[in-house]
Symmetry: C2
Subunit: 138 residues, 2 copies
Amino acid sequence: MKNSRELLADCGLNCTKERMLVIEYLQRHRTHPTAEEIYEGLCKMNAGVSRATVFNTLKTLSAQKALLTLQIGDGATRYDIYTTRHAHFRCLNCGKIEDIPMRKEDVMQLPQGYEICQSDYHFTGYCPECSGKSHILR
Amino acid sequence: MKNSRELLADCGLNCTKERMLVIEYLQRHRTHPTAEEIYEGLCKMNAGVSRATVFNTLKTLSAQKALLTLQIGDGATRYDIYTTRHAHFRCLNCGKIEDIPMRKEDVMQLPQGYEICQSDYHFTGYCPECSGKSHILR
DNA sequence: TTATTTTTTAGATAAAATCTAAATCCGAGG
DNA sequence: CCTCGGATTTAGATTTTATCTAAAAAATAA
């Protein structure tokens, strides 16, 4: 796994303490957190990083394709520092968002002429742990 | 194409003038509009429908799976009244959102145990019309 | 019709993200 | 190491998107 300093250098971005903290938070928390969750996590560490910086950093890194942005239908944008091809699954019962491996043959080909910069494959439903349970809460 | 009255009946929803107007707007505008765009469109028609009603109606209809909600990464949620299986493509140059047909074999299978309620396959990039053009504006 | 329930409404509120402009930091060049 | 200029950070204001509230209106049931 690339460290935060290397990752920033590869993106051609200056190395700042704030950017490193955001990257390292995402590397430690593979839960697809929102900007707000990252901000609160850093606050608890007394990192002294402002909310605007968290948003700025996430925006800058995603412009460099150093992280994925996820709009998976439960409000705020979520972020994923692992950028190798995979799909996402969100459980309607427990709320967790899981990475789903994607094989090459799972990637849909678009008609000639489209230039793809990004693709997102999202599933919503009940995960194996929640699927068997009573549906009363639904 | 089902008319708005039939569509509401099929969902077990009361038939109101406001709901019919929202459904008919979506049937006439296959551009994947936002709630705000629908509201403004109805205002121009002097439909006298409030913003809250547009949001309420969209939420009610999507809970009944009578329409798709799209979070395709450019801000507000977008809506699509055509609910047969298809993917979406958003052009970074001209901004349009296109429907992309999906064959059965394009649908990825998840591992055993997952219960899928919804799946979304979104592509972002440059459409055939914009792909050839100068990249200066990017 | 009358009663009951559902829906609509305008405006207030909340949530998510961006903007602003002043302060601070980074790092290239000396 | 030090300085300078551009890049970055910051707190708070603002904007955007969506939801909440409770009273009024409309739809449905009796």
